[in-house]
Amino acid sequence: MRTNHPDEELMTQVARLVNELDPMPAGLVERTQFAVAIDDIDDIDLEVARWADNRTLAGVRGGLPGTITFFVGDLTVMVNVTRTGERQRIDGWLVPAGAHGVEVRVADHGSSTTTADEGGRFVLTEVPRGTTQLLVRMHAEQSRTVVTPTVDL
């Protein structure tokens, strides 16, 4: 559509730059659809955790295992990821400590679950790599569940 109005011409250039230079990342819709596809959602009082440090996260996204932290309300979760061949080991620490249930969902690979010890520590081994989401069930009860956005591990 051509027009001689200067505002419309400028708007056309802006549209081209926005669409070409800053499109939504490929796969973000699919990762988000995975993040919201949580079982038994009707019975859960969901709380959404935020990653604590985006720079660390950027490192993880670059394919390097490392430590990431997320939090919501009074809960902080630290997670350390170590490669073990094709898979990985996840060491975590929950504060405040307690026997919280932990689930790690990996897209196309189902999920692994464990329970933290009284000190709030947990370990999951042989976790497949991929788009990953953590769920923490406070005191192992379904009723209060903390979920994270996905991260590519």
Binding site: L10, L21, A35
Partner: protein
């Protein structure tokens, strides 16, 4: 909610477009239809993305915020009583989340929203951009020196198509009559920054 229910029957949003379609999806999602929620994620994530990018977030943080906002909607699904207000809810929630993230990232004190509106965003451009020529570079740089509200309005105008002021206005909670003049002022500001930048 079950697979059986979602199988053969025609979906209530089929054949609908824009706001009507998304309102129908909202009602179905509230009744437990996950395919309806997935359609909302697919079709309205660009809105959330561009609001996040307009509000000072780099691309990595904006990706997280897109997911956080949809998880928050999932949490509040039953509390949104007006399905046609979804776009407005998404915009408001994304702005709030973007403020929370950028304050945390920069370790800054809380800014009032009025001050935040006047701040140019700090992220000049995506990392791997390929700019066609010098004029594109200057225009893109000028665009990022606009206020957050102007960047947001222009990005949403791009998304909505230039004629659909009404939908953009409603989503931004602006009176219908003021969006055209506001857009015009934003474009004038852009023009001034652009020409100032090029030194002509």
């Amino acid at each position: 909610m079950t697979e059986l229910q979602t199988a053969s029957v025609a979906k209530p949003w089929e054949g609908l477009e824009g706001r009507d379609r998304h309102a129908a999806c909202m009602i179905a999602a509230q009744a437990g239809d996950r395919s309806a929620f997935d359609i909302l994620v697919a079709e309205l994530s660009p809105l959330v993305w561009h609001v996040a990018r307009s509000n000072g977030l780099d691309r990595t943080s904006a990706e997280d915020v897109v997911q956080t906002v949809w998880l928050a909607l999932l949490r509040h699904l039953d509390r949104l009583s007006e399905p046609r207000a979804l776009a407005g809810w998404l915009i408001t929630t994304t702005r709030r989340e973007a403020q929370r993230v950028s304050h945390r990232g920069a370790g800054q004190v809380e800014l009032s929203s009025e001050v935040a509106e006047q701040l140019p965003t700090t992220d000049p451009s995506p990392e791997h951009e390929v700019l066609r020529d010098e004029r594109d570079r200057q225009l893109w740089s000028a665009f990022h020196n606009l206020t957050q509200r102007c960047q947001e309005l222009l990005r949403l105008t791009v998304l909505a198509g230039r004629a659909e002021y009404r939908a953009v206005a409603e989503a931004l909670h602006m009176p219908h009559g003021s969006i055209g003049p506001t857009r015009g002022r934003c474009l004038n500001n852009l023009r001034a920054l652009y020409h100032g930048d090029s030194g002509s």
